[in-house]
């Protein structure tokens, strides 16, 4: 006889069915694992200079070769990953938190919105590097500087998304009803609106992480990122500039790690967006 159509699969199952998403997750997990295990995987200190083995191509003792200071590239890439991923994580957390708070306020209260959005428009229209440069000038290049600068720059896009969502959700009859009954604003924001935007926020988080990793690498590359004491993929590439002709491995390995990370995060973000989109349920 007649059956009802099957219920659509939940978002997490849809995500896991997507092969690229699984691939991205696996790669990211591997990268994180490698970064965390760095001190145990290499006994070489990445910043130890050994002039005797400068610019050696990949070989059994140095899987990724050595750089112009004789530092082991494999260790450099692994430890650089720690920095890059850490910065990415911290920046994402800060930027998302600030953006959520501000976005909820802007979407919900019109006056906040008017003032805030002018500021944000002004901020967004401007090349982020310039602002980051000024911040670096203020604080001096270091991991902290990078985190501060990137967090400021990356708040804006998330803020836009949150605000946009709240503007729409605010008009829902459910919210009107809650207000009519007398539910305080704070509760509406935290109990009704916030959970509703979790899905798009998760998608944004992935892309912001990706942007943060890229941003840190770019800043470190031009010398305004992590200082001389820390190593990141960007700073490793900065020094590689002068040696492309002789030593391709100095450029390729840190760069590949960087691209792999960014790519996986982007793929994950896309997959999340596709699987959390209710319109695609049942496909």
């Amino acid at each position: 006889m007649l059956d009802a159509p099957p219920a659509p699969a939940g978002p997490w199952r849809r995500l896991l069915r997507n092969r690229t998403a699984v691939f991205a997750l696996v790669v990211l997990a591997a990268l994180v694992a490698l970064a965390l295990a760095a001190p145990y995987l290499t006994n070489a200190q990445p910043l130890r200079i050994s002039p005797g083995i400068r610019l050696k191509p990949p070989r059994p003792q140095n899987w990724f070769g050595t750089d112009h200071l004789g530092r082991d590239m494999f260790a450099l890439v692994l430890f650089g990953g720690r920095t890059s991923l850490l910065v990415g994580l911290v920046v994402t957390s800060i930027a998302m938190s600030v953006a959520i708070v501000l976005g909820l306020a802007a979407g919900f209260y019109r006056r906040v919105d008017l003032v805030l959005m002018r500021l944000v428009d002004g901020l967004m229209a401007f090349p982020s590097i310039v602002l980051a440069t000024a911040a670096a000038g203020y604080l001096g290049p270091s991991v902290t500087t990078v985190i501060v600068a990137l967090s400021i720059v990356l708040v804006a896009p998330v803020l836009r998304v949150v605000r946009g969502q709240i503007l729409v959700l605010r008009e829902l009859p459910m919210i009107e009803a809650a207000r009519a009954v007398g539910v305080p604003d704070r509760r509406i924001l935290s109990r009704y609106l916030l959970p509703a935007i979790m899905s798009p926020l998760l998608v944004q988080a992935s892309f912001i992480f990706s942007a943060a990793v890229l941003g840190e690498a770019a800043l470190s590359f031009i010398g305004l990122g992590v200082g001389a004491r820390d190593v990141s993929w960007g700073s490793a590439l900065a020094e590689a500039r002068n040696y492309i002709q002789n030593a391709w491995w100095i450029v390729v390995f840190p760069g590949a790690a960087l691209v792999l990370t960014i790519l996986s995060l982007n793929l994950l973000g896309d997959a999340l967006r596709d699987s959390l989109d209710p319109r695609l349920a049942g496909r």
Partner: protein
């Protein structure tokens, strides 16, 4: 239409004012004394103090701000502490270099990106489409500076088709000039191109599902007309907006590109000026960039209004 333009001009103001004020504050509040830097280690405290007074640096901050605003508005942008030249004379030559590279990159991004996006959308879910989408995702994940290094290795060092670095202005030969900005523009533009490919593909796919496309086909119009005239026209609208954002990203990326290719552009000038606390140059450069982006976005808005008559009515 006029009302639309007026609205847009008004909106431009915060996009110019906010960065300027931010930079003013950041620079003034940053540690480090430009006067001391200019005079060097050998200067005596009295000399430094005199120079500071000359430069107006010992006035209270709000007073400095008012004076500064007055000067900016009348375009009295001062003299570079470092180059000892008026900023208004100094900036244009650097700006031109950056403009040349950035415009080439933008053109590449929009042209290539749109074309590939349309091709991908027409061939939806075929190998061509999947391939293009895959390449696009990869392109978005490539940092410009890394790509630049790879391009240098491939085209300049190995194939020797292009110079490794350096810049030749167009006045010294168009072809030679083009050769010096070819790789930089490519490195800058590929990532934006990938972004636009995705945007255009997504937009085209939406448009191709619209009823008016069915009507056009039902009328018996050739497929080339349906795609080229009916579909692309509406699909291009969101892409145009993205192109505006692209310009901003391009200027960000230009900094590292100019460093790698040793191009005497605004990006490199800016970085150096911040390090040297050369306030007039920094402020002048920021003003120039902000105005350029605002003007570009205005042009984009006009193009948008031309493409979509519905917005003209406000």
């Amino acid at each position: 239409m006029l009302r639309f333009l007026g609205q847009r001009l008004l909106l431009m103001i915060p996009t110019v004012v906010v960065p300027l004020v931010l930079v003013f504050l950041l620079l003034r509040l940053a540690p480090g004394d430009p006067a001391a830097q200019i005079l060097g280690d050998q200067a005596t405290p009295e000399q430094v103090a005199t120079l500071r007074a000359e430069m107006g640096l010992d006035l209270p901050l709000p007073v400095q701000f008012v004076l500064w605003t007055k000067n900016v508005v009348t375009l009295k942008l001062g003299t570079s502490f470092f180059f000892k030249q008026p900023v208004v004379d100094l900036l244009p030559q650097y700006a031109l270099v950056t403009l040349q590279t950035a415009l080439a990159a933008l053109f590449l991004a929009v042209a290539l990106g749109s074309l590939l996006g349309v091709i991908a959308a027409i061939n939806r879910d075929t190998i061509i489409d999947r391939g293009l989408v895959g390449i696009a995702v990869l392109g978005i994940s490539l940092p410009e500076f890394w790509l630049a290094l790879l391009l240098i290795f491939l085209f300049a060092v190995t194939l020797k088709w292009f110079p490794v670095s350096g810049y030749i202005p167009p006045t010294d030969g168009l072809l030679a000039s083009a050769a010096t900005i070819a790789l930089p523009a490519l490195a800058l533009g590929i990532r934006q191109s990938a972004l636009i490919t995705r945007m255009m593909r997504s937009s085209m796919l939406d448009v191709l599902g619209e009823p008016y496309i069915v009507t056009a086909r039902a009328q018996g119009l050739p497929e080339a007309v349906v795609i080229g005239r009916y579909a692309v026209r509406t699909a291009a609208i969101p892409v145009v907006t993205v192109a505006g954002l692209s310009a901003s990203y391009l200027l960000s990326g230009a900094v590292s590109i100019e460093l790698i290719f040793s191009l005497p552009g605004l990006g490199k000038l800016l970085i150096d000026a911040v390090a040297r606390r050369d306030y007039p140059v920094v402020e002048g450069a920021v003003l120039l960039i902000a105005l350029t982006l605002a003007a570009l976005n205005l042009v984009i808005d006009i193009i948008y209004a031309l493409l979509d008559p519905r917005v003209r009515l406000g």
